[in-house]
């Protein structure tokens, strides 16, 4: 396997969620969310009603992946911040470390300057949190069965049932 998958436990999730909520409030955002680089939504805060966050997450990751590809062609390591301006809503996308993407959607109640500043602050905190998570995942992978995974005892029957 190239990388290990992302595994998040309750404690970590709560901390990250709180950090995101803080950013959301301080940046006066409409919707703030975290996506892993493969397009899976980690968590979101704000006006999610009527917004297809799953698709947004996947497209965000596609967006970062495509600009990352462009960066490489130009000899850049990465474009770590993307900004899209709309008539009403704007999207600020930034990379947190190597594997997580922070997205802030805001309108005229906020400003690019404020969002950029706050996102940077949050990013610094989250980088550290995710680093710890990935270190922990690697460690747990080394020690087989150190923590009991719900998948350790899955049977083919369980899987059959999924498809009804």
């Amino acid at each position: 396997m190239a990388d290990s998958g992302l595994v998040m436990h309750e404690e970590e999730f709560t901390l990250i969620d709180a950090e995101l909520a803080k950013l959301h409030q301080q940046a006066n955002a409409k919707l703030t969310f975290l996506v892993d680089k493969n397009g899976q939504l980690i968590t979101s805060v704000g006006e999610t009603k009527g917004v297809d966050t799953t698709s947004l997450a996947s497209l965000t990751a596609g967006n970062i992946a495509a600009t990352g590809g462009m960066a490489k062609l130009l000899g850049e390591k990465e474009f770590s911040i993307l900004f899209h301006e709309g008539e009403k809503d704007n999207i600020h996308i930034s990379l947190i470390g190597q594997r997580v993407i922070l997205v802030v959607i805001f309108d005229q109640r906020s400003s690019l300057g404020l969002v950029r500043l706050r996102a940077k602050k949050t990013s610094d905190v989250l980088v550290k949190m995710f680093e710890d998570i990935f270190v922990k995942i690697e460690k747990e992978r080394g020690v087989k069965h150190a923590v009991k995974s719900p998948f350790a005892e899955i049977t083919e029957e369980d899987i059959e049932k999924l498809f009804g």
Binding site: A2, I159, K161
Partner: protein, 195 residues
């Protein structure tokens, strides 16, 4: 790359449909979308050209049910099959948990099939995956057409690792869910192995 969230008690897995241009990858997803009940699926996103060729990817999130109290979500992606979109294919393969290789059964597409399979193996390797062990299913599509290559022959050319195969007519749905089910099973069993 699977994402296990103990807080929300859910697990997300990424499955990528690969294969030469026009082999029927998007058609597989469209059929799955059509036949899945509304509670279990999200919106299908297609980033396509005016002529409905995949430009970047198709995306379909499925949430089929729970295993041991964990909601299991599959994110299905297709790659653009046309040769010159290789950069995009590499991006979409990132973090993949399982691959479906869709082959086009028509005689005149055999060369394209072989080329695409080689391209898949090379790109998987580049991303650090072992192409011989990653969860994988091979689907021989368009079996309804008159000029198809016998399965044994396709196997010989495309399936050296002897992955499970399914004959399919994606347009009418034959083999589509069998393929999905098999690759999902392999992906989940892989998670079990790593548990």
């Amino acid at each position: 790359m699977s994402f296990i969230n103990y807080s929300a008690r859910e697990i997300n897995c990424k499955i990528v449909y690969y294969g030469p241009g026009l082999c029927g990858k998007t058609t597989n997803l469209l059929y799955i979308y059509k036949k899945t009940n509304p509670d279990s699926k999200g919106k299908m996103i297609s980033l396509a050209t005016e002529t409905e060729r995949t430009l970047f990817f198709d995306f379909l999130p499925l949430s089929l049910g729970s295993i041991r109290g964990f909601k299991v979500r599959f994110h299905l992606y297709t790659v653009p099959g046309q040769v010159f979109y290789d950069a995009s294919r590499k991006l979409i393969l990132r973090g993949v948990d399982g691959v479906v290789f869709v082959g086009d059964s028509q005689v005149e597409r055999m060369e394209a099939n072989v080329e695409s399979m080689e391209n898949l193996r090379k790109n998987l390797q580049e991303q650090g995956f072992n192409p011989d062990t990653i969860p994988c299913v091979v689907q021989y599509n368009k079996r309804d057409l008159p000029n198809v290559v016998p399965v044994a022959e396709m196997d010989k050319a495309l399936n050296a690792r002897k992955a499970p195969i399914f004959e399919a007519v994606a347009m009418s749905g034959t083999g589509v869910f069998d393929t999905l089910k098999e690759v999902s099973k392999q992906v989940i069993l892989e998670l079990k192995k790593q548990a």
